[in-house]
């Protein structure tokens, strides 16, 4: 059994090594798989902040993933075709700069998270699940009807955005960019979880009444966590758009929200990088089980049931000692 620190290190180094193997073997597909794992891992870890540590089961987190993605894609799209967006006070010409588009994605996702969270967090349990789902579905149907940006067919950006003078079209370069984001996000989440705030958040999950009797406002604590989580999920969405050079309403759908929850449950909630391991298992099952059978999702369901029944701490619980 490992300490959580060692486990985190092994997982992160494992993904990096997998990508390097792909590079050495001239298999860009491996690098793309590793990149996808990293991006979904970031989104899963962000969801885990509110689900695993805050006890809020958001079934609408795809909304922030999709909003981040659409914002980054729209900015890149306008930069590419030269058509500006009239924003009353100024015309926005879009941007092909990754950093700027990430910034926009994070800001918009934060705003959406603040809006949705301020209403949703007034509820709890099944009502919270349903209200977050409802908000996500609203954005999903909006994107389906938004024909200016591809509607149901989605929006292509054709080339990846730029980051300094790095050739982002090279799979390994883009992987390293995403991997760096994962390390930064991991550091931030680790800090938040181990801060006073993180411990009060855990207290809210376990005993909200006690937190009130300590003079703390659970609503404010939970909303802050929700906004942080939404912002990081938005960043993951922007990275995913750069990976695929495409965004579609699917990224806002309830299936995507469900997949993010699956990552958390598979890997183990209440562990910093549990969802990252969840992403590894999920992507590998999708790839390798998908080659064996078309019905790989059926077997994923079976595995999920077994994990919930016999390994409530997820796959990471098999490796980390308490």
């Amino acid at each position: 059994m490992l300490t959580e620190k060692k486990f985190n290190l092994i997982i992160v180094l494992g993904i990096f090594t997998f990508s390097l193997i792909g590079y050495v073997m001239s298999e860009p597909y491996f690098i793309t798989l590793a990149t996808k794992i990293v991006i979904l891992g970031i989104a899963g870890c962000a969801l885990n902040l509110i689900l695993g540590f805050g006890g809020m089961v958001s079934f609408g987190h795809a909304m922030f993933f999709g909003v981040g993605g659409y914002v980054a894609a729209i900015s890149a799209f306008h930069s590419m075709n030269g058509e500006s967006i009239d924003l009353i006070f100024f015309d926005f010409n879009g941007s092909s700069q990754m950093l700027f588009n990430w910034f926009l994605a994070v800001i918009f996702s934060m705003f959406f998270a603040l809006l949705v969270g301020s209403i949703s967090i007034r509820t709890s349990g099944v009502y919270f699940i349903m209200i977050t789902l409802a908000f996500a579905q609203m954005t999903y149907y909006f994107s389906v009807g938004w024909t200016k940006y591809g509607g149901e067919d989605g929006l292509s950006t054709y080339v990846r955005n730029d980051l300094f003078s790095i050739n982002t079209m090279l799979p390994l370069n883009f992987f390293i960019i995403c991997f760096s984001c994962l390390c930064i996000v991991g550091f931030i989440l680790n800090w938040v979880i181990n801060s006073n705030f993180g411990n009060f958040l855990k207290g809210c999950k376990e005993n909200e009444e006690k937190m009130i009797s300590l003079g703390l406002n659970p609503y404010t604590l939970k909303l802050t966590a929700f906004v942080i989580s939404g912002a990081i999920t938005g960043l993951a969405g922007a990275l995913y758009v750069d990976l695929n050079r495409f965004v579609s309403p699917t990224s806002l759908s309830w299936q995507t929200s469900g997949e993010l929850i699956v990552l958390v449950i598979l890997g183990g909630s209440a562990r910093l990088f549990g969802p990252l391991l969840g992403a590894i298992v999920f992507i590998l099952l999708e790839q390798f089980l998908g080659e064996v059978t078309e019905n790989w999702q059926f077997w994923l369901g079976v595995i999920l049931v077994l994990i919930v029944l016999y390994f409530p701490k997820g796959v990471s619980g098999l490796f980390i000692k308490d």
């Binding site: 938040v192 181990n194 801060s195 006073n196 705030f197 993180g198 411990n199 009060f200 855990k202 207290g203 376990e206 005993n207 009444e209 006690k210 009130i212 009797s213 300590l214 003079g215 703390l216 406002n217 404010t220 604590l221 802050t224």
Partner: protein, 251 residues
């Protein structure tokens, strides 16, 4: 002798749930360094009253004064921050954390969100010594590293009390702290509360009459939402009204 100061004052408190009257014109006062006990049969409205004092429920009529200030409009959280600290009938602690961490939560509660985010959950030397001092006060010093959920029932009650004390209360509202304790644990808690009440007022709801008589400076008896008698331990012991309404016999 120093003058007794009114810490908590209830005047004309009324509360109904539909047609059921749970508080009828309740008035009482808790003064500094006094333990005021509220007794009454199950369903008399004791916990409802403590909820109205703490702010969890709002009275339909009447005034709640805390340290000479009307607090009816204040939320539960605002009242906690004014020093009105409550314990629950069922021990309310964070079971997954250690005893030390539970008390540290209580010590660190007066922080803004930003300060909470940018500070690690660890104690500095003054906080550590304060936590250990509180643990010592409640004879929990050997249990600091134990996970709270593994404590005995009595120790959980003590931990909850320790958390309340760590917040520096102006008044303690204790809801049946003796429930479920064995004789030895009860005796220890009585001694502990005797030492605490020297420094701060306590409003105690309790069924354990032995504990109430050992601790109370003043007792109020609640029956069907109404205070039927109030006074010293001797007065309550002798009151025929109380014997008939509450105990059906001699106290």
């Amino acid at each position: 002798m120093s003058e007794k100061k009114e810490i908590l004052k209830l005047s004309g408190i009324n509360k109904c749930f539909g047609n059921v009257v749970v508080a009828k014109d309740i008035s009482l006062t808790v003064v500094s360094n006094e333990l005021h006990a509220l007794i009454g049969p199950n369903g008399a409205g004791k916990t409802t009253l403590i909820k109205m004092i703490s702010g969890e429920l709002k009275p339909d009529q009447g005034v709640v004064m805390l340290l000479d200030r009307k607090v009816n409009h204040l939320s539960e959280i605002a009242r906690v921050n004014r020093g009105c600290i409550r314990s629950f009938q069922v021990s309310s602690i964070i079971g997954s954390m250690t005893v030390f961490e539970n008390i540290l939560l209580a010590v660190k509660q007066k922080r803004s969100i930003l300060k909470m985010l940018f500070r690690k959950f660890q104690s500095n030397s003054s906080e550590s010594s304060f936590v250990y001092q509180t643990l010592n006060q409640l004879s929990l010093e050997t249990l600091g590293t134990k996970v709270a959920s593994t404590l005995s029932h009595g120790d959980k009650k003590k931990l909850e009390l320790a958390m309340a004390l760590a917040m520096g209360p102006k008044i303690l509202l204790l809801d049946e702290p003796f429930a479920g304790l064995d004789q030895a644990e009860s005796s220890r808690l009585i001694e502990l509360l005797k030492s605490i009440k020297k420094n701060m007022p306590i409003f105690l709801i309790e069924h354990d009459m032995q504990a109430v008589f050992a601790l109370a400076d003043k007792i109020s008896v609640l029956n069907e939402g109404e205070i039927i008698e109030s006074g010293s331990v001797e007065k309550i012991r002798r009151s025929k009204l109380v014997q008939n309404a509450y105990l059906g016999g001699d106290l």
